[in-house]
Amino acid sequence: MRDTLVFATVLLPFFAAVLAFLARGAAPRKLIMVATSLVLITASACLLTQGPFTLGASPIFEALVTVGDFALLGIIVFFGVRLKNQLVVWLSLGQIAGLAFLDFFLADHAATAPAFYVDDLSLVMVAIISMIGSLIGVYALGYMKGHEEHLHLEKSRQPRFFFFIILFLGAMNGLVLADSLSWMYFFWEITTLCSFVLIGHDGTDIARKNAERALWMNVVGGAAFVLGLILLQKGAQTLSLQALLAIAPEISAGGLLVVPLFLLIFAGFTKAAQAPFQSWLTGAMVAPTPVSALLHSSTMVKAGVYLIVRLAPLFVGTYLSALVALFGAFCFLAMAAMAVGQSNGKKILAYSTISNLALIIACAGINTPASITAAVLLIIFHAVSKALLFMCVGSIEQRIGSRDIEDMRGLSRVMPRTAVLTAIGIMTMMLPPFGMLLAKWMAIESASAQFLVVAMLAMGSALTVLFWARWAGMLFSAPFGRGTPEEQPPSVRLPLTILAGASVILSLGAPFLYNRLVAPMVAMYYAAPGYAVSTGGMENVSGVFWIYPLFLILGIGFIVALRAAGRINPADVAAPYMCGAQRDVNGHPGFTGPMNQPVAATPGNAYLPRIFGEEMLGRYANVAALALVALMLGGVLW
């Protein structure tokens, strides 16, 4: 049973990807994508019921992974040569040499560790990747059709596109289930390659440029990963996660292995696009929306934080841990500030993603049972809400031809359904009683002993509220009038609706999620539980969050409010105050100006580019982030 499920989530997508590549025509492709989605969703749901286990694989796979490693790096070197990018070429060659050294000189092939080590953290990740990833894949069916019609392509590029999308899902599942870090590295490299190809999918100059940037940044991370593996093998004589986590208390108490741990964490930073590497993720927006949704919400970037959260028990209470918390808090603040200065919807989403990933990293660095709980909950809730928001923005862009939030003013009249779904996504990102806020509450309470960290979290939270609230308000900024019902293909409508429902329902089920998935995982690696579930919420010594009472009171309040809004009589609608003679200017509210000319009232947001602009702030953020990384390195080498 278990081997079947692992096969279905990891290996099957590899075959399905090849099929999707060979399939010609839309119908078979649709069939393959939907079938793969169904299998992945079912298999991951069944896995959730299994609980932790380990699973061996035949030695042939060991050999396949080794060969695959070199093949992948060979492909990356090839791309590096074709792009004439020295950095990619030399770093990849270095990785080949390092891997050869590791595989043929260091590794102890006699010691057999199980191939797959599955605990609740892995299961949570598999569920997120398989369920949300599949939904994004289904959404891509409808989206790519419109996308390619818009581009007027001679020959469809969809086979290649879906090949990589499905491959991506399999690789990500492999990454989170693997026990050996060298296996994890193999899947890690596949995601690097997939993202490179997918970002460059449209083949425009900017797409090529951004794809190359993503490649070299991830290759830097990959090189750190290999070096970390070599040092880990030398220091601990094993690359098995299970073996390492079993002796976690000794490792963390003795402050051992901090250098390889630092290198692996650094690799996690690059994958999670933390400063100074944020530009590859913000550049990834040039790809079609499903790619951004997949990269930003459920897969690629989550791999980075997964690795850091996974290794967290190994550096509890060390200097490294404190600095990881500081680094995470700083990036959380800096990226939230960058998002404030943006009017490009996708960029706001990208910066908000990096900001939330940084929060997860900060939680891993705080490294108490409560903060690890917060980290896992953040991973879950962020994936749902962010996937929803990305797909909404994609649909909006296809309809109104812009991703600028200034152009989304009054969207509720053009796309009433999508506007409401977007608002749900935004509200679940920033307001209680939803899961994101529950996790943020845990994060701030567990950080309360570290002033610098908590001050940055406080500032970052306030900035987050600012850019979300602004956007939500603009969506409904329209004079009164019935909206036109909108047309959407079912493959787009269904995933959006499911995700919007899930973002609310999962928040309701937060205590249940915690009891079933998070608490057992925390119990495996930490002495005390983070929280107790009681009185309709979560509580520990430092605080109590009443989930159900809040849902009840606010839910009733919201329903009453909705009814109040619904009972508004169209006869009681006033025109907005204009401090003068009001008149309608091409459907926009306005007033009669000088010389009796009509003037449209056109408000705009303050983005304060001189404070929050990418250019200015990005430079400072990168310098500060590099300084923190240097501090980390200095500390571990000391």
Binding site: W441, A455, P479, F480, L554, F558, A565, P576
Partner: protein, 283 residues
């Protein structure tokens, strides 16, 4: 538990009365400072009752939703306070109200409410981090964010956190919409952005916002009272002094710009917090 619940519900029921009276006293004191006679103390109630009797006019139906949610959030936060719940949770619930107020204002395509909404957001950016830091500092002293734990603390928090009380004073000034921070919605409708964030709310919806505002004022004063929770007399003296100082500041200050507010409030607030918390570690 049941006793607590009944008390909390009673307190929530009394809150609008206390809040309205406070607003009336506030107006009388302000009048006295300006050598005017001023309205009767019950004037805020008359105003709200009159507004409630009017026709519900809106520019956009979302405003009706926003006004009600704003009130719901304010009531909920006061309820959590009297249930002696979690300070940080109260803060998050307050945020709901503030966000919906802004969303409602932004949903009306009027330049005044749009600019007011933007300014309200900058105001939130100024006070939110400070309020979180005030709560964090209280948790540092008492070891918990729960109000129950804070009430059990043997000495007044004011002795440990004098500077944090000043930071809370900043938050209170912004929340009360007093000068120099009455930037997003001024008391007087003859300012450059009319009534800013409140411009497009009218009639019963404006009444809901007014009542919600009373709730919020009572809540922030309640948080101030936690700084001297060991004696009832201490609470009364502290709150009276604080509120009178607020009115005084309101009357001797001009309205300032939001850029000045962001810069000065955040700098002063963060520095005061840092100094106070360092002092906690040292002392």
């Amino acid at each position: 538990m049941v006793g607590k619940l009944v008390l909390a519900l009673l307190a929530v029921a009394l809150t609008p009365l206390v809040g309205g009276l406070l607003a009336g006293v506030d107006r009388r004191l302000t009048a006295w400072l300006q050598s005017r006679y001023g309205p009767p103390v019950l004037q805020p109630f008359y105003d709200v009752l009159k507004l409630l009797g009017k026709t519900k006019m809106v520019v956009n139906p979302w405003q009706a939703l926003s006004a009600s949610v704003y009130l719901a959030a304010a009531v909920t936060s006061v309820f959590i306070f009297f249930m002696q719940g979690d300070l940080l949770l109260i803060f998050f619930v307050l945020t709901i109200g503030a966000v919906f107020l802004v969303v409602g204002a932004l949903s009306a395509p009027s330049p005044y409410s749009q600019i007011g909404g933007q300014r309200e957001l900058w105001q939130m950016l100024a006070y939110e981090p400070l309020l979180i830091l005030v709560f964090v500092s209280m948790a540092m002293v008492t070891g918990s964010f729960r109000i129950t734990a804070i009430l059990e603390h043997p000495t007044p928090l004011l002795y440990d956190l004098p500077l944090m009380f000043i930071v809370l004073g900043y938050v209170l000034t912004i929340k009360l919409r007093k000068s120099p921070f009455d930037i997003s919605a001024s008391q007087h409708a003859h300012q450059e952005i009319v009534r800013g964030v409140l411009t497009e709310y009218s009639g019963p919806h404006l009444a809901l916002l007014e009542i919600a505002h009373w709730f919020e004022v009572v809540l922030v004063l309640g948080i101030c009272s936690l700084f001297f929770a060991t004696s009832a007399l201490g609470v009364v003296v502290l709150l009276a002094a604080t509120y009178f100082l607020e009115i005084l500041i309101d009357n001797v200050m001009a309205r300032m710009t939001w850029r000045w507010m962001l810069r000065s409030v955040l700098t002063v607030g963060l520095v005061l917090s840092l100094v106070n918390i360092l002092w906690l570690y040292v002392a």
